[in-house]
């Protein structure tokens, strides 16, 4: 008996992968082996390349925008030309549209979700691998449309496509809506796939409440993707119909109602903001557990709050239209429900803090991102409370206050959780470690640069600076100057992350199977995983029971003690 245990302990899972063996990256060769792959990890990687390219494009637009605004701050600046205004309007539109539809929405589900979800389930792949590949092609097709927009006169409607401006402008609205429409399919297919996978492919021993919280978050996200995205598709189709066929739907000149478009649009886009943030919250739960090395506090509250957010998120869209002239009663109802969504978000924060209590907190790079997340999301959420309050939103709507709010939640929170997750799973995905010092410097630049860029915008907005302005009155110059400087710091930080990752791929030291001591199932296979994910079925226990993993100095990683895990599992069943 003890002999067998010893063998298990020594071999653990660590012995699975010898030096010369194949993994999913070198399993087969040639471009076609990638383009036709059904392997969720390879699809995740292809998504990574495409989505990060979009991020670069959208990010460069942002730097250009901020630079243009900085140049308007000179005291003796000449009156703005219509040409400059056109360029500015197109840049902020492309910036928003690219980053929302091609980066923030797909980033976590399509990259990290694809990579990690089947591994966390101990599964070989997602439920529908072909659908998964199709979703990547949808993404690429949608991206092609956006590329076409870029080359064919641009787009100047803002990412919100408000009518009747969008039905009357001469820029490429039809192509852009087509692009967003197709991107929507990619999102729907991913959502469907994840729902099916979580229902069908959970291993024996993993009930719903033994699922890692990242999966709960992805599940909640998928529900929104499947239910809300078709509404966007319909809306964009109606918009295209109006533009091309002149059917009066939204344009009052044709007998339509422009505010109807806003209802349709936000009926999708408010839930969509939770598509953006929920997976990020899931990542934070994982990071908190692993880097505090203990059970998450309030597992079921965190899990249910994801579902609550997903469902309540469908009922608050009207808070984007307080000033549109909708009735006072409508406004009051939307305001009330909006506040109710803030509560589950607060609960999550409290639970993460409680997870730190009595933990063993490591300040490894992913954890730094988790801590940054808490700071940024708290600010983003609290300023959401300003905006939810009717009288305050009348003043703040369509000013830089709103711009700052959604950047705190979308860029601040979602981007930090995404980068944190990338660092966390990096060793698993590529089998390489990265330079910790560079990673930490980059983290600091991002955190500092972000706050410098966006905090000042709350003040600018409160003072009355409207958004989407190519030019501004002199009293706003100081805010724009500070914000632009901050954006440069932020950009340097992000490029440093890119450098950090590339350097790791080129010359990073080999990663152990489990560098952090996490116990979710992806750490039960080698880094990077083999083509079929697991050579031997992983051992399913409580997802955050990490005490069966012992630190081993020689590999600077953790080794599984299965016997101990079985014993701990028995204890927990009592």
């Amino acid at each position: 008996m003890s002999v067998i245990q010893d063998q298990v302990k020594v071999s653990g899972y660590g012995g699975q992968q010898g030096p010369g063996e194949t993994n999913y990256i070198n399993h087969s060769k040639g471009i076609m082996s990638w383009l036709l792959t059904l392997d969720h990890k390879r699809i995740g990687l292809m998504y990574m390349i495409a989505v990060l390219t979009a991020f670069l494009g959208g990010g460069l637009c942002a730097i250009a925008l901020r630079t243009m605004l900085y140049m308007r701050s000179a005291p003796d600046v000449a009156p703005i030309t219509t040409g400059t205004q056109d360029v500015y309007n197109q840049l902020f539109t492309l910036h928003g549209a690219i980053l929302v539809f091609m980066f923030i929405i797909p980033a976590v589900p399509a990259i990290l979700g694809n990579m990690i979800l089947p591994l966390m389930l101990g599964a070989k792949d997602v439920a529908f691998p072909r659908l998964n590949l199709l979703s990547w092609y949808c993404y690429m097709a949608g991206a092609t449309f956006f590329l076409f927009v870029l080359l064919s006169g641009g787009l100047d409607t803002g990412w919100t496509f408000y009518t009747p401006y969008s039905t009357s402008t001469s820029t490429s609205v039809a192509a852009a809506t087509m692009g967003a429409f197709i991107l929507g399919f990619s999102s729907i297919l991913t959502g469907l796939n994840f729902i099916a996978t979580i229902h069908m492919l959970r291993p024996a021993g993993m009930g719903w409440f033994r699922m890692p919280l990242f999966l709960w978050a992805l599940y909640a996200t998928s529900i929104i993707q499947v239910l809300a995205t078709p509404v966007l598709a319909i809306t964009l189709m109606l918009l295209a119909a109006e533009r091309i066929l002149h059917v009066g739907i939204f344009d009052p000149a044709l007998g339509g109602d422009p505010v109807l478009f806003q209802h349709f649009f936000w009926f999708y886009s408010h839930p969509a903001v939770y598509i953006m943030i929920l997976p990020g919250m899931g990542i934070i739960s994982e990071l908190m557990a692993t880097f505090c090395r203990r059970q998450v506090f309030g597992y079921s509250f965190i899990a249910f709050s994801s579902i609550a957010i997903a469902l309540l998120g469908f009922l608050v869209w009207g808070h984007h239209m307080y000033t549109s002239g909708q009735s006072a009663m409508t406004n009051a109802i939307f305001s009330l429900i909006t506040f109710s969504v803030a509560i589950p978000s607060a609960i999550k924060i409290f639970n993460w803090l409680a997870t730190m209590y009595k933990g063993s907190i490591s300040l490894a790079t992913p954890m730094l991102y988790a801590l940054a997340f808490i700071w940024l999301f708290t600010i983003g959420g609290l300023t959401g409370v300003f905006l939810g309050a009717l009288s305050l939103d009348i003043m703040a709507h369509d000013t830089y206050f709103v711009v700052a709010h959604f950047h705190y939640v979308m860029v601040g929170s979602m981007l930090t959780s995404f980068i944190g997750g990338m660092y966390y799973w990096w060793p698993k995905m590529f089998g390489k470690m990265y330079n910790e010092t560079v990673a930490k410097v980059a983290w600091f630049l991002i955190f500092f640069g972000f706050n410098l860029t966006f905090f000042i915008q709350f003040i600018a907005g409160s003072q009355g600076m409207p958004r989407r302005y190519a030019d501004y009155l002199p009293e706003f110059a100081i805010y724009h100057q500070i914000s632009t400087l901050g954006s440069y710091v932020l950009a340097i930080g992000l490029f440093l992350v890119l450098y950090n990752w590339i350097q790791s791929l080129v010359s990073g030291p080999k990663a152990p199977q489990n560098p952090w001591g996490g116990n979710t199932l992806e750490w039960h296979t080698s880094s990077p995983p083999p083509h079929e994910n697991f050579i031997e079925d992983p051992h399913v226990t409580e997802p955050y029971e990490m005490r069966a993993w012992d630190y081993d100095e020689s590999i600077d990683g953790y080794v599984y003690d299965k016997a101990k895990a079985i014993e701990l599992d028995k204890q927990s069943q009592h």
């Binding site: 803030a342 009595k358 808490i374 700071w375 300003f386 939810g388 309050a389 003040i459 001591g517 005490r547």
Partner: protein, 360 residues
């Protein structure tokens, strides 16, 4: 101490309030602001404290901590829940005050016409101007109309904002509490020159305001048609798209247009005469000048006949393709039949705003 800080914050975060609803808005703003600061400090403080206190001592650590407690979960749900409910009610009541004009406001009703990228204000007597003048301490009711896309009427100092939606009349109101000039922005993105769609609200004493209105009436009656045309050019925002010096902007320049033969997008052509100009103003989508987009809003129902005549005379006066007479003399002196009908014939403005706008 907190009170002093709150006082300092007031101008740091918000511009000084200059309307009757500002106090309630600012009070709630301060409340939410300080509540947020306290929560943020609390959360960040606990976080940093834990990071220091429970810092990992060794990679071999295997800590055990509490994993759940329904009592704690419900306990910490309560404070935020109570706070947001307070904020909801406070915000709703403030909103109702902003939304519901007091009785009597309609006596001072101004029609706000927004079009790409211009504001034009029509007072109760039919007078018209490009800046909004209002008497102090008097409730003003606004009826908002747009002739093209959605705009939004926004005066930060008054804490007032309302979208201007084509095809419907939105309403709002304010009561300014201090004499002065305040910025009025368009807050809803409306295309190319959105960021220049900025004008002023001029709050005056009742006497000054009355004098201003009288002056608007006078100007109309005494102004020569060419001058009236120039004024319409500014007040209705034609200048946002048309230049007088031959440089094409969003629309064709007005220099040398009159009398020339214009070619249209569909290949047809027509000589620019009085009727063509009139058609272009009232029904701009009809004959689309080749090389330009269909972005000109219609001015049907806004611009007055005298002003159209004025624009026509203005066009004639700057065209080398026209050598007929130009009406640049003042109409009959005030006092005869034109004066009896001031409400109809006016469209005047104060030359002060006229001048500054022309220089741009």
């Amino acid at each position: 101490m907190l009170a002093i800080l709150a006082q300092a914050e007031k101008t740091f975060f918000l511009p000084p309030g200059r309307s009757t609803v500002a106090a309630s808005h600012d009070g709630l703003y301060q409340f939410v602001l300080w509540m947020s600061v306290i929560w943020l400090i609390l959360i960040a403080g606990v976080m940093i404290y834990f990071v220091i206190k429970y810092r990992r001592k060794s990679p071999h650590d295997k800590p055990v901590g509490p994993t759940h407690s329904t009592a704690i979960e419900l306990g910490w749900t309560l404070p935020p829940l109570i706070l947001v409910m307070i904020i909801f009610v406070w915000g709703f009541r403030g909103f109702m005050d902003m939304n519901q004009a007091p009785n009597g406001a309609t006596r001072n009703q101004v029609i706000v016409a927004a079009s790409k990228w211009n504001w034009s204000f029509t007072y109760a007597g039919g007078q018209n101007d490009g800046t909004l003048h209002v008497p102090v301490n008097t409730p003003i009711s606004l009826v908002l109309t747009s002739s093209d896309v959605i705009h939004s009427f926004y005066v930060p100092d008054f804490r007032v904002k309302k979208d201007v939606v084509p095809g419907r009349y939105n309403k709002t109101w304010f009561q300014a509490t201090e004499v002065g000039e305040y910025n009025l922005f368009c807050a809803e993105y409306c295309g190319q020159q959105h960021s220049t769609m900025v004008t002023k609200v001029v709050v005056q004493s009742q006497e000054d305001y009355d004098a201003y209105i009288r002056k608007l009436d006078e100007i109309i009656m005494t102004m020569p048609p060419v001058e009236l045309g120039k004024r319409a050019y500014k007040v209705y925002g034609c200048k946002q798209c048309h230049s007088l010096d031959g440089i094409a902007g969003t629309g064709p320049s007005w220099k040398d247009v009159f009398g020339k033969t214009q070619t249209f997008a569909d290949g047809s052509s027509r000589k620019v005469d009085e009727n063509y100009v009139r058609d272009s103003i009232l029904n701009p989508g009809k004959d689309l000048v080749a090389g330009y987009d269909n972005v000109m809003p219609t001015f049907q129902g806004q611009i007055k006949e005298q002003e159209i005549t004025g624009v026509i005379e203005l066009l004639k006066s700057i065209s080398a393709n026209y050598d007929g007479p130009i009406l640049d003399k003042a109409p009959a002196a005030p006092g005869d039949e034109a004066g009896a009908d001031a409400g109809d014939t006016s469209g005047g403005g104060n030359d002060e705003t006229g001048e500054t706008q022309l220089q741009e």
